[in-house]
């Protein structure tokens, strides 16, 4: 883009009173125009002068135009955003409305505790009242309670009480023994979901011709 082109586009952009706007009588627009009109008029004059002179603007004039045209997001703002991000990363607690805080809760010692996730301390099987052995065909459940290498998770990680841990382990062994579930990795459907990062229902299933045949 030549400097001439750039200049004319700049003139077009800051032309103070474009025809359609002149007829706008709504209060906000009128107020806006009166607020910024003076400054724009000055710049319009400056650019017009440059155009009439026929040559490109001098360096000082160019800087003046660019200063006025530049968006207000300056380097300082970007730096401020970086600082905010850096500090916010040190404050991992997600505050919820109605929670109570004392000065101690805003300090670094408490903030650090919210960084590490804590594993389940409640028995989900008791909570939802189902029998794991009856659900051996539920591959989402089976995959949840085995590692990525296909080993049954320890009760330390699952949070199940011994009775339910045994039932869950039995369900996993049964699913693998019946050939319903792979023994060295999670179920392919779960892996596919993990790859896409989407819920399973949202992923289109590949159409096989055999399924369409009656």
């Amino acid at each position: 883009m030549s400097s001439r082109q750039w200049l004319s586009s700049a003139v077009r952009q800051c032309k103070p009173q474009q025809l359609p706007r002149t007829f706008s009588t709504t209060a906000p627009v009128a107020a806006f125009r009166s607020l910024f009109g003076k400054k724009d008029n000055e710049m319009y004059g400056l650019l017009k002068e440059g155009l009439e002179r026929g040559g490109p603007l001098s360096e000082a004039e160019q800087r003046q135009v660019m200063d006025q045209q530049a968006p207000r997001a300056s380097i300082q703002d970007l730096r401020g955003r970086d600082v905010t991000e850096a500090y916010a990363r040190q404050m991992p607690r997600r505050w919820r409305t109605g929670e109570v805080y004392a000065p101690r809760d805003l300090g670094p010692t408490e903030a650090r505790k919210f960084r590490a996730g804590k594993t389940a301390s409640r028995d989900v099987v008791d909570m939802f009242g189902f029998n794991p052995v009856d659900n051996y065909k539920n591959f989402s459940m089976i995959s949840e309670f085995m590692t990525s290498m296909g080993r049954i998770k320890h009760s330390k990680e699952t949070g199940l009480r011994p009775v339910n841990q045994r039932k869950m382990a039995k369900a996993i062994r049964r699913a693998i023994g019946m050939g319903l579930h792979p023994s060295v990795h999670k179920h392919p459907e779960i892996l596919r979901r993990g790859r896409h990062g989407l819920p399973t229902s949202a992923i289109p299933t590949p159409e096989t011709t055999r399924q369409n045949v009656l």
Binding site: G80, R81, V83, T84, Y87, A88, M91, P92, R93, R94, W95, R96, T97, G98, E99, V100, Y101, A102, R104, D105, L106, E110, K113, F114, R115, A116, G117, K118, T119, A120, S121, R122, D123, V124, V125, D126, M127, F128, G129, F130, G159
Partner: protein, 469 residues
């Protein structure tokens, strides 16, 4: 009987602190107890206090005297300026008194009282029901003045067992659980342990209902005929066949069945399901229900009294008076701390802290919501003590989980200036503060001496009203 005579030892114990200590209440339900992976701290301040806060006089405190079994160590109890402790165990197995500081909740309560706003009851989810035009516009009813939790019809604390069912729309405490808040496993256990053994009792309850129904029908008939009203029927006179017929009728009327079961078990009211839950519009589906007006039907009943004992104010409809500027239109504005900034990438809104409670930023078309307000977006480490804004507390309610939900608005410019002037942070109407006066600290006795002078300023006190001489 006015008072029972007790032995001197008994009287001593009765007035002692050990006997006056309230039992701790169960702690709030946290994420860590919900099975899923959670981010939490076991040392963070709880959403509501579970133990009573005790205090003592300064002279007794210097001796470690807190009215407990043994005196407390001075090294720890004298460190804080504010004498507030919570005692977890008066005497543990190791023969020590287990105590910690309670300034967190104690000071928060003091700060809350300074706001001068009453605790209000939540409005029912579908509006008040009286005006049908308001029903689908909860935002409208949100802005209406709220009712104090101490209003007579809402504040039901002591009811006759027979009136429990009648007052269902205004009660906040129920003997039975709130079924919508139970997990499947818990519900199954509840059915097995508590409901199933009460089957014969429920049949008796139904018989009583049938007897009352039959009596009502007979009384109406007698009234029409102009004969003597019949004697009330006894539940034992209801036959098994009548009961079975009634049960069959109930099975086809879900609302009536729920009413009977709900009354028998004193279940907390449940909000009727909406279309998105049922999948059918109201006209088509078979289940019929009555509108529930109880404000706790959607979120479950509160764990405490809806005031949570935080404040006993009944209204905020009073005027604050300024010594120079006279009556003020608004209550004093307060400073809110920006506890966490708005983070757009994480879709995390900014959170404010008012009087130690986490609060949402003001809603609506306010200056703090204007586009060029970047105060909520950034953390500026150069601002000492963190960024703060002036807000106007509007109302406070306690939600089902016992959290205090405060609502704030932007402070008006005038209210903010007046509040700042009182703190010595700003000057109004060209007044300047005397530099010598600003830094001077007056002791209580100096102030008392100033006001006990011959031409003391007119102040209202108990003496003026002749209450005390």
């Amino acid at each position: 009987m006015a008072s029972r005579s007790v032995s001197p030892g008994g009287a001593l114990l009765r007035t002692s602190r050990i006997f006056a200590m309230a039992n701790p209440i169960p702690p709030p339900v946290t994420d860590s107890s919900s099975g899923a992976t959670s981010f939490s701290s076991n040392m963070a301040t709880l959403d509501f206090p579970t133990h009573q806060v005790i205090t003592t006089l300064s002279s007794a405190r210097k001796r470690g005297e807190w009215g407990l079994k043994r005196s407390l160590p001075l090294k720890t109890t004298l460190k804080s300026k504010i004498p507030m402790l919570r005692v977890k165990a008066i005497d543990s197995a190791e023969q020590i008194t287990d105590f910690t500081s309670a300034t967190d909740h104690g000071m928060n309560r003091r700060k809350f009282l300074e706001l001068g706003i009453p605790l209000t009851a939540r409005r029912p989810a579908g509006g008040d029901g009286g005006d049908s035009s308001n029903q689908n516009r909860p935002t409208l009813s949100m802005n209406l003045p709220q009712k104090s939790v101490f209003e007579k019809e809402i504040d039901t604390t002591d009811l006759d067992p027979d009136d429990l069912a009648k007052a269902i729309d205004n009660r906040w405490r129920f003997n039975g659980p709130w079924l919508a808040g139970m997990t499947t496993g818990k519900f199954q256990k509840y059915l097995e342990k508590e409901v199933r053994p009460r089957r014969p009792e429920f049949r008796e309850f139904l018989k009583k209902k049938i007897a009352a129904e039959l009596h009502q029908a007979a009384a109406n008939e007698a009234l029409d005929k102009g004969t003597e009203p019949p004697a009330p029927l006894d539940a034992s006179s209801v036959t098994e066949d009548q009961l079975i017929d009634f049960l069959r009728k109930l099975r086809h009327d879900s609302q009536a069945l729920y009413d009977m079961v709900g009354q028998f078990l004193d279940l907390a009211p449940l909000a009727p399901p909406n279309i998105s839950q049922l999948g059918l519009p109201a006209g088509i589906n078979k289940i019929t229900w009555r509108q529930i007006k109880n404000p706790y039907a959607t979120g479950g009943p509160p764990v405490t009294h809806p005031s949570a004992g935080l404040s006993y104010l009944r209204t905020s409809m009073y005027m604050d008076n300024h010594p120079i500027y006279g009556p003020q239109r608004q209550h004093p504005s307060v400073v809110a701390r920006i506890v966490s900034p708005r983070r757009q990438a994480q879709t995390q809104p900014a959170k404010l802290g008012v009087a130690g409670f986490i609060v949402n930023t003001p809603l609506g078309d306010t200056t703090s919501n204007s586009r060029n307000n970047t105060l909520f977006d950034k953390i500026d480490p150069d601002v000492k003590g963190g960024a703060k804004v002036w807000v106007q507390p509007k109302r406070a309610t306690v939600d089902s989980s016992g959290r205090v939900v405060l609502t704030v608005d932007d402070a008006s410019a005038e209210a903010k200036l007046v509040a700042q002037e009182l703190l010595g942070l700003a000057t109004c109407l060209g007044t300047t503060r005397d530099e010598r006066q600003t830094g001077r600290v007056e002791s209580a006795s100096q102030i008392r001496r100033r006001y006990s002078a011959k031409n003391a300023p007119a102040m209202s006190s108990t003496q003026n009203y002749g209450i005390q001489r």
